[in-house]
């Protein structure tokens, strides 16, 4: 039997392979397994349908946030156009589903591939641009994509929006929150697995080298333009995948939600979760989506109590403010995000009662 590994009381890693391990101890693996079992076998039958809807939203946001984290956290290219790519994925799925008679499980990856091609087009400016300038270029990309989604009426039907056919998977019709719950979370797990492992390959190392210093990376023989494009492609693949799932889940889509606000939301997820940390993005997605829901619930209950009816306070400003405040506070007080908070909590437990 394999020897179980426990927490070492120091850094005893001797080679690079040990440095790359995902689970430090076998307990981590065990707890992950227990958590996944609870997620799939217990959770969907215990919580209310509305909570399942919220969980689904978190799952979709987490997929997109992981993609953005690969771009921002690992490759160091700040993109303000992720919301638009999410929209491209949603529209690609909608157009493919209505025009071609393909099954659900082929349309979602196909939409993601289309999005990654679009993402590569908007990654082209990264040949010459970096840092601030690239961020501005992606900001422009956001507006241009938004415009195209709204005005290419023969394809996207403009403000009318597109209604998608029912999704079927292996003869099983996906309808209702619970069936989508399984699809979304299985996708999330697969995508997380791919992302975590991709970072450990030479591609991931090249991304990190470009983030740390692109000139030096080029000097070490990394073709930086190719890898930057690849990073854009992977990141928008994730966004497109999430967007396609979202389109199927929402049934009918318009171009309205895919605005700059959505892009900022995704960046907030990455920053609040922790840049350069895949699990962090999942935390960030849970945090931001949860924050949205809490604020909605709060304003609704306030309306019902009659506190704010006279002043006509609606949710948007409060949401906007809380969002900004969350981003600002995390940057000022915990720039490494929730992933770091989680690490600190874990090490507290690990060292208890004899912290040394």
């Amino acid at each position: 039997m394999k020897k179980l590994r426990f927490h070492p009381c120091g850094n005893y890693r001797e080679n690079y392979k040990e440095e790359l391990t995902i689970f430090e101890t076998d307990f981590g693996r065990l707890w992950l397994g227990i958590g996944l079992l609870a997620l799939f076998l217990i959770l969907p039958w215990v919580v209310k349908p509305y909570m399942i809807y919220v969980l689904n939203m978190m799952g979709i946001a987490a997929i997109a946030a992981i993609g953005l984290n690969i771009l921002i956290g690992f490759t160091g290219q700040i993109s303000l156009g992720h919301g638009a790519f999410f929209g491209v994925g949603a529209y690609a799925a909608a157009v493919l589903a209505t025009s071609l008679d393909l099954p659900f499980f082929m349309i979602v990856p196909a939409a993601a591939v289309v999005t990654s091609l679009v993402g590569m087009i908007f990654g082209i400016p990264s040949v010459r641009l970096k840092g601030l300038y690239l961020t501005i270029a992606t900001l422009a990309g956001q507006f241009i994509v938004e415009y195209i989604l709204l005005h290419w009426e023969s394809l996207t039907k403009g403000t009318m929006g597109i209604t998608l056919p029912k999704a079927t998977l292996l003869g099983w019709e996906l309808s209702g929150d619970t069936s989508f719950f399984f699809v979304i979370f299985i996708c999330l797990i697969v995508m997380t697995w791919i992302a975590v492992n991709m970072i450990r390959t030479k591609y991931g190392r090249a991304f990190i080298a470009i983030r740390d210093n692109d000139r030096a990376a080029e000097g070490m023989g990394i073709p930086i333009f190719r890898y930057k494009l690849l990073s854009f492609a992977v990141s928008s693949f994730y966004a497109g995948f999430a967007g396609a799932l979202w389109a199927y889940y929402m049934v009918s889509i318009t171009s309205e939600p895919f605005n700059l606000g959505l892009s900022v939301e995704y960046i907030a997820m990455v920053i609040i979760g922790g840049m350069g940390n895949i699990t962090g993005s999942i935390f960030g997605a849970i945090f931001i989506t949860g924050l949205n829901e809490v604020l909605r619930w709060l304003t609704d209950s306030m309306m019902n109590m009659g506190v704010f009816t006279s002043t006509g306070l609606n949710m948007a400003p409060l949401r906007e403010f809380t969002f900004g405040a969350a981003i600002v506070l995390f940057i000022l007080f915990e720039p490494r995000g929730l992933a770091e908070v989680w690490r600190i909590i874990r090490s507290r437990f690990r060292l208890w009662p004899f912290s040394y």
Partner: protein, 292 residues
Amino acid sequence: MDFFVQLLVNGISIGLLYGLSAMGFVMIFKSSSVLNFAHGELLAFGAFLFLAMVTWAHLPLPAAFLFTLAGCFALGFIVERIFLRPLIGEPLIFVIMLTVGLASMFKGLLLLVWGGNLHTYPDFLPEFLSIDWGIIHVAPVYVATLIIGMIFLSLFGLFFKYSSQGIYMRSVADNQKAALSLGVHVKRVFALSWAIAALVAGMSGIVLGIINGINVHDLSAIGLKVFPVVILGGLDSIGGAIIGGIIIGLLETFTGGYLSPSLRDVVPYIVLVLILLVKPYGLFGLKEIERV
């Protein structure tokens, strides 16, 4: 021909406004290399503060104007002190994201206080400022914009070229560490540049408010339109901001007039991408040379 001339005049007037709005943005970038996504909200803050002074406090116009400028100056100072100072020396993305966060915070606050409706100032600009030459008609507010823009342009030019604070600002923008080691008070430079930038932004906000009415959403959208303007002119050139603004304004009105009105809002961004691909440092920007 009449249509063309009127579009030309409109374009230049709108462009001057963009240029004026972009000035404060360039000011911050020039001294601290910070890309300020909250610029539109600074504009809106100035506009709303002036509105509050005029309609709620019923101050006479000059006093209201001075108080607004003082308020904006203080706001810039406070923002720098509380939010930006802890980030000196941190990676770029944190600074950019901080300004994005600040933008939504300010927007939320302004919406909470004033709501999303359109407000207007009472009419106060004198009529003699307007220009009427045959087919060319220019409203007084645009003439005022031109005058304000010229005053600020020359003031800033002199400030950056001759005053010691201006030279400190340029040195800090060029290389923070070197400036620190040569005894420049970097923190004071940052605080001052944010304060001045907020002041200029507040003033542009007032001018914009006179023309279009005051609305949080519109003003923050102008804060984003500043990006094509400054990229075209060069991120660190104040004169370039004005020229970039005029070019973008002309482009907007001509596409709006001749091609299609819906294309109008997206044309600046298309131009922006093209410029970035061809001439990343803009028309008048300083080329950065980078060493490993």
